[in-house]
Each structure stands twice: as structure tokens, then as C-alpha cells.
């Protein structure tokens, strides 16, 4: 393998083969995401210069004593949620696209996000006083139901990519109708909150929400990232994967579980931010190629940078009115999706 560095820490018991290109791209995207966070934290009623933001982030005292509080307590969690949610959605999408060998599959396209949203809205409307801690498991339940239905109705024994997406569109429609049903019962204040939430927004997210999201990412992100070899193998088809020694059903089950859990926890935290799970893996594939070892982390970083930038755009474009970042991603992502469809229009 030309141009690959092999790293063998712990006396060679573990070996990691690194593709330098992926590492460089990953670092650059990381810097972009960091710049996005800094810019995002600096913008607001009380603007803070980028350098002061960085100082405050690292706990260095600067001219204004309030900076530390504003940056670290009020504004940072929002930017962090944006990055984390974007990364979760992107990895979820990359895994799903790899598993289904379908460019168009993503948790937002095939209805997994809609299922998570339905479960979360139901919880909010039925039990308005419920703690946010219960949202991710509820969303996970909803997303899992949709994923299972999708598997039974479309995926099993079928290789048509369009069929999977079409049935996903149908499932989305059912979940959305039921969500609207729930919303009709809420009072107007809750409803406008729910509407913003449904389009995907990181507005007013506190550390509490970051801490609710983190355990999910801590479990399922590594689960997805470390199984990249199996994902590569499954991408070659079930027979080849079996021949390569993969336990196909088990690996596929675990990867689906990771994908669904990542999407659901993202939705529970920031609502249904659309098209990130679709777009980020495509961008990442353009940057580092289709092998999942590099693709998954680069997708994650792309997704994180995308959402934090989308939030920045949404906040500054029509300030003081804020556009939820989900609308920004939809305005960019839907034409992108149309382009993808159009490019493969004959198949």
C-alpha cells in the first residue's frame, strides 16, 4: 500500500494503518469546525472578538471578566451540540449508505429521523414536564421501529435502491402525519417551540443537553468507527463478506443499531436537522475515497463543521431573527439531493 503509514502502539499488539490524506483532511476539517465554533460563540447580542473567545475557551483571563461566563456557560454548549449532532448524523448516514450500498440512503431520507421526532414530540406533548434525559431513549425507540419496518418492507431480499428510498418516504409521511396529530393538541406556545424543534435547531441548548447526548455518542460512535472493516466487507456483498470471515447478520445488526442510535440521539437533542446525514458522507467520499476507515471519521468532522456553520449562517443572515439551522441545511441539502438524483437519473 503506497502512501500509508502503519502505527503499532502497545508493542505491536494493535496496528492501525493510517492513510495520510485522510489524516490531513481530518485535521483541516477539525480546524474548520473549531473556527466555526469560535465564530458561532463570538456572534450574538454581545459580540466577542475571536481572539477573546479562544482565550476564554482556554481559561485565560482577558480584559472583560464576563467573557468567561458568556463563552463557556452560555454560548459554548450550543456550538458543541451543533458539532456533536452533525457528527452523529453524518456517521449514521455514512454507515447506512455503506450497509445498503445505496447513495441515497440516510437517516433523514428513509424516515428514521421522522420516527425519532415522532417519539420525542409524543413524549413532550403527553408529558410536558418530563426531563430531557428521557428524550434520547424515546427517540431511539421511535427510530428503531422505523428501521425495523424499513428492513421488513424494503431492505430484506431486495436490491433496488429506489425502492428503499421510496418506502422510506412513505414511512416518513406516516410518522410526520402522526407528529402533526400530536402537535394539533399542544397549546400554541408549545407548538411553536415544537415547530422550531422539528425543523432542527440548536437554540438555547445548555450543558445539560450536551451531557445527555455524550454517553450515547461515547457508546455508539466507537461502535460504528471501529467496525469500519466489517462495513467495508459488507459493502462487497453478503457472499464476499461471508467469504472474508464476517459474521454478516451480527455485524449488520450492530452497525444498524449504531446508525439508528446516533441518528436518534441527535434528533432528541436538536430536532430533525435534515440532509446532513445525506450530504456529509458524500462530501467526505469526494475528499478521501470510499474506504470506511478514513471515510467515517472524515464524515463525522464534515457533519460537525456543516451543522455549526449552518447554525452560524442561520443566526447571522437575518439577525436578530434566528433561522433554525435545520432550515439552512435543508436549503443547501435538498438541491444537493436533487442533483444526486438527477446525476443517476437513468438507473
Amino acid at each position: 500500500m503506497r502512501g500509508r503509514a502503519v502505527v503499532r502502539p502497545w508493542g505491536g499488539r494493535v496496528s492501525v494503518r493510517l492513510d495520510p490524506r485522510s489524516v490531513v483532511v481530518f485535521v483541516l476539517l477539525g480546524l474548520a469546525a473549531f473556527a466555526g465554533v469560535v465564530a458561532n460563540v463570538g456572534v450574538g447580542e454581545y459580540p466577542i472578538a475571536p481572539l477573546d473567545v479562544i482565550r476564554a475557551l482556554f481559561g485565560i483571563e482577558s480584559g472583560d471578566g464576563n467573557y468567561g461566563f458568556i463563552v463557556n456557560v452560555l454560548r459554548l454548549p450550543r456550538a458543541l451540540v451543533a458539532v456533536l449532532v452533525g457528527a452523529a448524523l453524518a456517521v449514521s448516514g455514512a454507515v447506512l449508505q455503506g450497509l445498503t450500498r445505496n447513495d441515497l440512503a440516510a437517516p433523514d431520507i428513509v424516515g428514521v429521523n421522522a420516527g425519532a421526532g415522532l417519539a420525542a414530540v409524543t413524549l413532550i406533548v403527553a408529558f410536558p414536564s418530563v426531563s430531557a434525559v428521557f428524550l434520547p431513549p424515546a427517540a431511539f425507540g421511535g427510530a428503531l421501529v422505523v428501521a425495523v419496518l424499513l428492513y421488513l418492507l424494503a431492505w430484506r431480499g431486495s436490491s433496488s435502491p429506489t425502492r428503499l428510498v421510496l418506502i422510506g418516504v412513505g414511512l416518513s409521511a406516516v410518522a410526520t402525519a402522526l407528529t402533526t396529530f400530536m402537535i394539533t393538541f399542544g397549546d400554541i406556545y408549545q407548538v411553536s417551540q415544537a415547530l422550531v424543534w422539528l425543523t432542527g435547531s440548536v437554540y438555547g441548548r445548555s450543558w445539560e443537553r450536551v451531557l445527555t447526548l455524550l454517553p450515547w455518542l461515547a457508546v455508539f460512535m466507537p461502535l460504528a468507527l471501529l467496525r469500519f472493516r466489517h462495513l467495508n466487507a459488507l459493502g462487497l456483498g453478503d457472499e464476499v463478506a461471508t467469504g472474508l470471515g464476517a459474521r454478516v447478520e451480527l455485524e449488520r445488526g450492530l452497525l444498524v443499531l449504531a446508525s439508528v442510535a446516533l441518528a436518534a440521539s441527535a434528533v432528541a437533542t436538536a430536532g430533525t436537522i435534515g440532509f446532513v446525514g445525506l450530504m456529509a458522507p458524500h462530501i467526505a467520499r469526494k475528499l478521501v475515497g470510499p474506504a470506511h476507515g478514513g471515510l467515517l471519521p472524515v464524515s463525522a468532522m464534515t457533519g460537525g463543521a456543516t451543522v455549526v456553520l449552518a447554525d452560524l449562517v442561520g443566526r447571522t443572515l437575518f439577525a436578530p431573527v434566528e433561522i433554525p439551522c435545520g432550515i439552512v441545511t435543508a436549503v443547501v441539502g435538498a438541491p444537493f439531493f436533487l442533483y444526486l438524483l438527477y446525476r443517476t437519473r437513468k438507473t
Binding site: 441515497l104 418492507l153 424494503a154 431480499g157 431486495s158 436490491s159 433496488s160 429506489t162 425502492r163 428510498v165 421510496l166 418506502i167 418516504v169 412513505g170 414511512l171 416518513s172 409521511a173 406516516v174 410526520t176 402525519a177 402522526l178 402533526t180 396529530f181 402537535i183 394539533t184 393538541f185 400554541i188 407548538v191 411553536s192 415547530l195 422550531v196 422539528l198 425543523t199 435534515g274 437575518f318 431573527v321 434566528e322 433561522i323 433554525p324 435545520g326 432550515i327 435543508a330 436549503v331 435538498a334 438541491p335 439531493f337 436533487l338 438524483l341 438527477y342 443517476t344 437519473r345 437513468k346 438507473t347
Partner: protein, 333 residues
């Protein structure tokens, strides 16, 4: 199974559908949040006394039933035409984003121009529907055109884009949201007879146009080449068909908000009874669409009485599973 073949059988079927529609309309007037006895309902028509019940019947329930029937008929015929034009069993004005385009235009006009009358709603709905239709049509034809099933997916993406823009507009203005959220979910409640009269001309023109083109649409469903071979100027047929769709779907959205899946389901039911001839599919679709929406509206009122559901939710709950069924049946993996 094609039950009805002869011309007389088809005519009898049409009369039967009309009878069913009439019964549904009666039921729609009879059942509602307020419990009013059958006898009082009849009295409200023959001997108008001005009591509260009479008022409910005359000013709320009758207009509502008629509007549901008109909207259902318009959407079903629009769906039938689109399915014929695109030769695609999975399309309807909702799925292809045409209703979302109309809705965005209406919400935008309320927000930007302070539009408040249904006449302006309708005009903007036509503009929005037409623009969305042009985009879908472009995706379906330019550069050799998209495969029909892909076109459905593209329409869904377009609808997603347009409805998030609608949400963006609503976020700017809470008051608009309050006025419009029930409308946005698709509902025929609380419209008075005046509104019906305002959109009636557009719907009538749309329906007449559709019926006039029914023979040509039948030829088009056999393929562009066949239609040309039969001496048709297909470009004009398509153009006027799209005009009919825009008029029908735009009026429906202007008066009732986006109601999905009526245009998808009904033409299939009609085709099941009458076969492939659009001269019969269209009138059957119109009647059955009216029946479907009137009964869905009754269900929306009585399922959780006294709470009322937007009728769009009922049609989506019936229609979306049907959509999934069609996708499974039509695309063999």
C-alpha cells in the same frame, strides 16, 4: 379484475358513485361536535327557524361538506392527470411538491404582503403550484429525463425543501402561525360558503379542461410515440394538462391547505373499476375523491369528539401505507 366494461355498466356505476357521495354529504351534515337529531337536520332545510341548531347546520356543516367534496374531487382529478402524464403510479400533487409550492406561496403572501382574502390566496397558490410543477417537470424531462420512480423521490425532496421554507416564514411571524397552523395541516373546517364560490370558477375550469383532454391523456399513457402517431400535438396536451393540475391543486390548497394522498389513492381505485380509459377514470376519480375526503372529514370529527383533527392527517394515515404498498408492488427488487 375489471368489473365494469360496457358503457351502460360504467354509467350505472357513475350514478352509484353519485348516490354514495350524496349519502356521505348527508352524513357529514348529520354528524359533528354538536349532537343534532336527524329530524332537526331535516327541519333546518325545510323549515328554517334561526335556532342555534339551524345555524350550525346551515352555516357550518353544509359549507364544510360541500367544500370537502369539491377539494376531494379537485385533488383526485389532479392526481389522475399527473399519474397519466408521468406514467407513474406513485405520483400525486402532494408527493411531487406541487401542494407544498402552493402552500409556501400562500404563507409567503400572508407574511410579505399581508394578504388576507381567499382571492389573493388562490392567485398565489396558483403561482406557487405552477413554479413547483415547472421544476418537477424540468427534472422529469431535461437531459433525457429522470426515471419515473426517481422523480417521485425528487418530488419528496422538493416538498421537504419547500415546507422548511414555509416553516422559516412562520418562525418570523408568530401571529401568522396561529392563524395558519390548522390550515397548514390540511383542513376543511370553518370555511364559509363564500369561499367555496370564490374558488368554484377555477375548479370548474380545471375540471372542464381535464375532461376535455381525457381522450388525449389516455393516448399519452400509451407513450409519447403512440400519442404522436395518433396525430396528437403532445406538447400542447401536456401544457394544458399541467394548467389543469395547477388550477385544481392550487384551488384545493388555497381553500383547504395541503391535503396529501387523495390524488394518489383515488385514481387507483377508479382504475380498478373502469380500466385504462381516462374518459371514465376522470369522472370516477372526481366522485370517489369527493367521497373519500367527505368521509375522511367525518372521521376527523368523530374519532376524538369533541376534539377535531385536520383532515389532512386522516388522508395521510390512509394514503401513506397505500403508497408503501404500491412502491413494494411496483418495484421488484
Amino acid at each position: 379484475m375489471r368489473v365494469l366494461r360496457s358503457r351502460s355498466a360504467l354509467l350505472v356505476g357513475l350514478v352509484g358513485c353519485s348516490a354514495v357521495l350524496f349519502l356521505c354529504l348527508l352524513a357529514s351534515v348529520r354528524f359533528g361536535a354538536a349532537r343534532i337529531g336527524t329530524w332537526d337536520v331535516i327541519l333546518a332545510f325545510v323549515d328554517y327557524g334561526g335556532s342555534e341548531d339551524d345555524l350550525i347546520i346551515r352555516t357550518l356543516r353544509v359549507p364544510r361538506a360541500l367544500i370537502a367534496a369539491l377539494v376531494g374531487a379537485a385533488l383526485a382529478v389532479a392526481g389522475a392527470i399527473i399519474q397519466g402524464l408521468t406514467r407513474n403510479p406513485l405520483s400525486d400533487p402532494g408527493i411531487l411538491g406541487i401542494e407544498a409550492g402552493a402552500a409556501l406561496a400562500v404563507v409567503g403572501s400572508v407574511f410579505l404582503l399581508g394578504a388576507s382574502s381567499l382571492t389573493t390566496y388562490a392567485l398565489f397558490a396558483f403561482v406557487g403550484a405552477a413554479l413547483a410543477a415547472v421544476v418537477v417537470y424540468g427534472l422529469g424531462t431535461l437531459g433525457g429525463g429522470m426515471n419515473p420512480m426517481k422523480l417521485v423521490v425528487a418530488g419528496a425532496a422538493l416538498a421537504a425543501l419547500l415546507s422548511s421554507l414555509t416553516t422559516a416564514v412562520l418562525i418570523f411571524n408568530q401571529r401568522t402561525l396561529e392563524e395558519i397552523r390548522f390550515w397548514l395541516a390540511g383542513s376543511v373546517a370553518g370555511r364559509d360558503l363564500g369561499l367555496l364560490l370564490q374558488v368554484l370558477p377555477y375548479v370548474s375550469v380545471g375540471l372542464l379542461l381535464a375532461f376535455a383532454l381525457s381522450r388525449q391523456i389516455t393516448a399519452l399513457t400509451l407513450g409519447e410515440d403512440v400519442a404522436t402517431g395518433l396525430g396528437q400535438r403532445t406538447a400542447w396536451v401536456k401544457f394544458f394538462s399541467v394548467v389543469a393540475v395547477v388550477l385544481l391543486a392550487g384551488s384545493a390548497v388555497a381553500i383547504a391547505g395541503p391535503i396529501g394522498f387523495v390524488g394518489l389513492v383515488v385514481p387507483h381505485v377508479a382504475r380498478f373499476f373502469v380500466g385504462v380509459d381516462y374518459r371514465w377514470i376522470l369522472p370516477y376519480s372526481a366522485l370517489l375523491g369527493a367521497v373519500l375526503l367527505v368521509s375522511a372529514d367525518i372521521a376527523a370529527r368523530v374519532v376524538l369528539r369533541p376534539q377535531e383533527l385536520p383532515v389532512g392527517i386522516m388522508t395521510a394515515l390512509v394514503g401513506a401505507p397505500f403508497f408503501i404498498y404500491l412502491a413494494r408492488k411496483r418495484i421488484k427488487g
